[in-house]
Symmetry: D2
Subunit: 358 residues, 4 copies
C-alpha cells in the first residue's frame, strides 16, 4: 500500500507580503517556500549552527565582491568573528585595498563602449568602473611596501597580515585587510600570482631581485595545520574558484596526515556555476563527499544565486538572529605576527604538518 | 585629453550590515552596489515609476511559482492593483487552484529516489512534492466545472474569470484566481492546452463533445485591444516562457493596427535564462526594442535571479515604499463578466481589433 | 573491504585528433570522454535504440531553431522518419514558413544598436536579423489562408497540416511544414496563440468573425490518443518550453485512461536550462519519472548544450550510423487529412479518448 | 529613408544533413547558422588567423579537461605548435600526470551515492571516477621528485618543465607535461598551490624544510616578458579561472613597462559562465578591451559551450583545414632548461621586466 505520508510531511507555506518586514523575518518565512529562496533561508540556519558548534569556519571569496560593494560585509564577518579564516582571490583583496586607500569604484553600465573606456583609461567590471591610473598607483604602493620587507619568503598569509597592518597604520580605515589584521584573522590567497597584488610584487622584484618572494607551499602547510589542530571545520564558499578548492584541499591534505579528519561538518556555498560541466566551482557538495572534503553526515546547502543579492540578505538576517549564539561563541585566537601562525598560543611546527597518525 | 569624469560620477557605496534592517531599507542600500543586487534594487524603482505613471501594467508569470510558495504574492499584486493584467502559464493557475481548494504542496528534496516517488504517486517539482491523487481530483473538478458552461468558445480570459468566480464561491479562499475574480483583473493563459487545466478541459470534452472550447485567437485580439485602448504600457516578466512573448506580441500586433503604439514604456524582467542561445525567455530587453516590443527610450532592467529569492524581497520593499504612489494610482476598471471585456465601461469590439489608423 | 572494481570498470579514453575524421567517428569516440561531450555521444545511441525499437517518437522543438538555421535538420528528421510526431512552438513554424516562402534570415550581431534596427524595421533574434516588413507580409498571407477555410474549429494539428499542404502547393519548397505535409507526420503547436501564426489567425478573425478558430483542447485529446494507441513512446526534447511539457502531458493524460501506460521508454533532451530554479524547461528526466512521464527503467540522457551546436553534430552522426536501423524501421502511417487523425488506417474516436481501462 | 540593406547582407544558410560529412565540412557549414553553432565555427577561423599571423599564442586551460578525456587534445596542440604557451590549473596537469603514469580515470555517474564512493575511496568529478589510492601515490611521487631538486625557488614554469622531463624519462608516454617538455613549450601554473601538485610540494617540504619553493612572482615576470619580447599576442581561453586572468594580466603588466603593448590581437574563449554576475571567468571580451587586455580592433569570439563538446569538434576541424597555414608557421623557439627562459636564443633578464619605454 502506498504510504504518501513519508513524503508529504511539511507543507510549503505561501509567502505573504508584510511591507514593513525585517530582513530577518523575511528570510525566516522563506524557509517554507521552495527552490533557491528556501536554500537561501536554509543557509542562514546552517551558518547559525556552525556558530553554535565549536568548529573552525573557513570562508572562501571569489568573484568581484569588493569591486561590487560587498567588502564591508566581509569585514563585518571578520570583525565579529562569524568566520575564522578567509581564503580570497587576489582581486578581492586588491579592490579592498583600493577603497581602504580612499579610492572608489563607480556605478557604470555593461553596455558602454569599451573602446571609449580604454581611451579614457577606465577599467570595467561588468557594470562597475574604476580609474586605471589609480590602479597603477596601487600597484606601485604595493611594490613600495613589499620593498620594505626583509628578503625572505612569506606565505601569502603572513604577507597579507603585514600588508593589512601597514594599511591600517597608513589609513585607519575599515576594510577586509584591515579588519583581518585587527581581529587577527588569517587570510590566505593561494592564487596571489594571478592578481594585481602579484603584479605589485613583481614590480618590487623588478627593482630589487631579492624582493617579492611568496611561499605558496607554506600556505598549504599552514592551512592544513589549521584543520589538523581542530578537525571540526565548516566551509562557506562564495562563488567557487581557487578559494573553494583550497578550503577543501586543506581537509584532504589533513586527512593524509591524520585519518581522524573526516571532512567539513558543515558546508554552504553560494554559486552561480552548475555541476554538469565538470568544473570545481560548480561541483555539488555531494561530490565533495566522495573525496572526503565534506563529512558524509555534514549539514549542507547550495544556493544558486548571485552573491550580490544573496549575501546582503543572508548576513543581515544572520546578524539579527544569531546575536546570542555569536555572543556565546569562543572563536579561535590566532597570533599571525610571525612566519608561523600560533593558535591559542601554540605555534604550528616549522615547515611541517602537525603530527597526526601518519 | 582624457575625461574620466564622464564615467566616474556615482561611487559604489559598500553595503553595511544593519541587523534589524527592514527589507525596504536593505533594497534601498542595494541600489549603490553592483551586479544583480543593484539590478534587483533598480527593479523596485522602475516598478514604482510604472505605478506613478498612468499606464497599463502587464505581469507575466512562468516557472513553478505557485507550487513553490509564491502564489499569494501574485494574489497580493492583483488585489492591491500593482498590476492590471496577468499572463500566466497554466501550471501556475492550476497549482494555485490546488491550494485554494485546500490542498498543499510539500517541502521535499531534489535528491529523492524518483522511482519510489512514482510508486507512491508523489509528483516532484525540484524540491517540492504534491499528491498525484489530489491532482487527479483537481482535473476532474475542473472538468466538472467546464461541463456546467454553455457550449460555446471561451477565451482563456473569460474561462479563467468564470473559473475564479466558481472557485471563490466554492471556497472563499484567497489565491491568484480568486483575487483576480474579486478585483476584476484579467488573466490570460495563452498556453492553456499545455497544462493540467487543459487536461481538465479535455476530460470535459471526453464526456461531452461540445464542451471545453477555448478560443485562443480571441485572447490575442483582446490582449491587443488592451494595448490599443491605452498604448502606454509596462511589462513585468517573471521567468520568460509564453507569458513573456504574449505580452510583447500584444504591442507588436497593436502597432500593426495603430502606428502610434510604440512599445512598452517600462519593462522589468526577472529571468535565469541567458540571451546567447537565441531563445525568447533569455532575450534581452534591448533585443525587444528592435521589434518595437519596447520603446527605445523605455526604462528597463533585467534581474538575473531566481524568482523565489527576488520576488519576496522586491515586492516587500515595493509595498513599503510605494504606499503613497499606489494610493494615488487610478487603475483601469475592467468588466470581465462577458465574452468581451469592457474597460472603464466601454466594451471592446466583437471579434475585432479596435480601430487605429490602419 | 573496499571493492573499487565495482566503480572502476570502463576507463575514460582520451580523445585524439584525427584531422579527417567524419562526424560519425568523432561522436563515436566522444562516448568515452566525460561531461556533456559524453552525453551528446550517448544521445546518439539512445536515438538509435528508439529507431530500432517499435515505438512512437515525439520530438519537441523550442527556441529559435528555424531562424537560427536548423529548420532543414528538422525537415530531414521528418522526411526520413527519424521521428513520428513534432511538437513545436509557433515561432519555429512561422520562421520556417518565412523561409519556405523564399525569404531569409540574416547573419547579424548581438551588439548592434537596437534603436537603429527598430528605425529600419529589422527584427533581431540574438545574432540574427529579419526584415519586419516581410514578417508583416507573412502574417497577412497566413490570415488570407485562414480565411479560405470553412468556419469550424481546427486542432492546431489539422490547421498545420492544411497550412503545410497549401504552402507546398504554393512554393514546392522543402521545409518543416511542407516536409510534414508530404510525409504525413503530425505537428502540434499547443502554444499557437503565442506566435505570429496566432497573429495571422487573429487578423483573419478581424476580417471575418467566424474565422481563425483553433481547438487546442482537441490537440490534447489527439496527442493523448497517439499514446493510447501505442503506449511504447519516446521523447526527444530540444530546448524545453511548451513542447517539452506537452509531450510529457500526453503520457500522463493517457495513463489516466489506461493504467498500462507507463511513461516514455526513451528520453533525450538537449537543454541549456538547469533544474534548480524549479521550471519545467530545465527539469531533469529523473523528476519526470516521479510523475510517470517517463518509465522508471527508461533509457535517457540530458545534454546541456546549445541546440545550434549539438543538433548538427548529433543528426549527422545519427544519419551515418543508423542507416540500417532506419531502413528496417516501420514508422506509423498517419492520415492527417481530416479533423480526426487516423493511424494505420484506423481513426481515433471523435472528441474522445480511446478506450483504455477507465 | 530606411536602408535595410546595411543590415541584411549575408543570409543564414540552413544546415543540411550530409551523413558522411567530415568534421571540417560540418564546421564550415556551421559558419552560416546562428547562435553558438556559428560562434564555434567562427572560433576555428580566428584560430586559423592566429596561426597565419606572426603572433604568440597563449592557451589557458581550466575545468576538469584532463580527467574528462581532453588531455591528448592539449598535447596535440602543444606538439604541433598550434599554441606557444600553456597556462593551466594544477588539476589539469595533475590528472595528466596521473594518466601519463599509466593510471586511468573512469566512466561514472553523477547520481552515484557519494557516501559509498567515499567508503571505497573513489573520487568523483561529476560523471568521472578516480582511485584515491592512486592519487595518494601520485602525491608522493611528486614529493619524491621535488626532493631531488636543489634547494632554490623555481618558477612554476621551470618546475613544470623539469617535471615533464622527469615524467618523460620515467614513462616515455605522451601527455600534456611530456609533450610540452619535448616541444619546449612553456607551461605556467599560477594557482599551483591550489592543486594536488601543490600538495605534493608541501609533502616534500614536510620531509625537507628547504624543498618545494615555487616562485610565483617569477612567473608573472616571465609571462610578461613573453609579451614584451613580442607584443603581437593571441589568447585562447578554455573555461576561465586563473588561466584566463593570468593571460590577460601579462598584457596589462607588459603595457605598464612598454606603452607599445596594446593587448591581444586575437581572442577566443570557450566558456559556460556568463558576464552578468561580475566574475572574471564569464567576463566578455569587450570588457577585456576596457582594461587594454585586448586590442580594440582584435578579432574575437566567445563560444558558450562545454569544452568537452566544443574542443573535439574545433580542433579536429582546425587540424584538417589549417594544415598549410600551420606548415608555414614559424613558432617561437624556447629554451626552458634554466631558471630564466630564452626565446630564439636570447634569454630574458634576470628577475626583471625586459626594458620597454618606462
Amino acid at each position: 500500500m502506498s504510504d504518501k505520508s513519508r513524503f508529504l510531511r511539511l507543507p510549503v507555506e505561501p509567502f505573504t507580503i508584510v511591507p514593513d518586514a525585517s530582513v530577518d523575518d523575511l528570510l525566516t518565512r522563506m524557509e517554507r517556500i521552495s527552490f533557491q529562496g528556501r536554500n537561501l533561508a536554509t543557509a542562514r540556519r546552517i551558518w547559525e549552527r556552525m556558530l553554535g558548534d565549536e568548529c573552525t569556519i573557513f570562508l572562501g571569496a571569489a568573484g568581484a565582491l569588493s569591486a561590487g560593494g560587498l567588502r564591508l560585509i566581509l569585514a563585518y564577518l571578520i570583525e565579529h568573528r562569524y568566520i575564522d579564516c578567509l581564503i580570497s582571490t587576489g582581486a578581492n583583496l586588491y579592490h579592498d585595498l583600493h577603497e581602504t586607500r580612499g579610492r572608489r569604484h563607480y556605478i557604470g553600465s555593461p553596455r558602454e563602449d569599451d573602446a571609449r573606456l580604454q581611451e579614457d583609461r577606465i577599467d570595467r567590471v561588468y557594470d562597475t568602473y574604476a580609474n586605471e591610473d589609480e590602479f597603477v598607483d596601487n600597484d606601485e604602493w604595493i611594490a613600495a611596501f613589499a620593498l620594505t620587507l626583509p628578503h625572505r619568503p612569506y606565505t601569502s598569509r603572513e604577507f597579507l597580515y603585514l600588508l593589512g597592518k601597514y594599511l591600517w597604520e597608513q589609513t585607519g580605515q575599515c576594510g577586509i585587510l584591515t579588519a583581518a589584521y585587527r581581529a587577527s584573522v588569517p587570510i590566505f590567497c593561494p592564487g596571489v600570482a594571478d592578481s594585481s597584488i602579484g603584479m605589485g610584487l613583481s614590480q618590487a622584484r623588478h627593482q630589487d631581485g631579492g624582493a617579492g618572494h611568496i611561499d605558496v607551499t607554506g600556505d598549504i602547510i599552514e592551512s592544513t595545520n589549521l584543520v589538523l589542530r581542530r578537525p571540526r571545520t565548516a566551509s562557506i564558499v562564495l562563488g567557487g574558484g581557487t578559494p573553494k578548492n583550497f578550503i577543501n584541499q586543506a581537509t584532504v591534505q589533513a586527512e593524509f596526515y591524520d585519518s581522524a579528519v573526516r571532512g567539513h561538518r558543515y558546508a554552504l556555498q553560494i554559486v552561480t556555476d552548475v555541476p554538469h560541466f565538470g568544473g570545481a566551482s560548480g561541483a555539488t557538495l555531494e561530490e565533495a563527499q566522495s573525496w572526503g572534503k565534506l563529512a558524509t553526515d555534514a549539514e549542507q546547502v547550495t544556493v544558486h544565486a548571485d552573491v550580490s543579492i544573496a549575501l546582503p540578505v543572508l548576513v543581515t538576517a544572520l546578524a539579527a538572529g544569531a546575536r546570542e549564539t555569536l555572543a556565546a561563541r569562543k572563536p579561535l585566537r590566532f597570533d599571525l605576527s610571525g612566519p608561523i601562525m600560533a593558535v591559542e598560543g601554540r605555534p604550528f611546527p616549522q615547515a611541517q604538518f602537525e603530527a597526526g597518525d601518519r
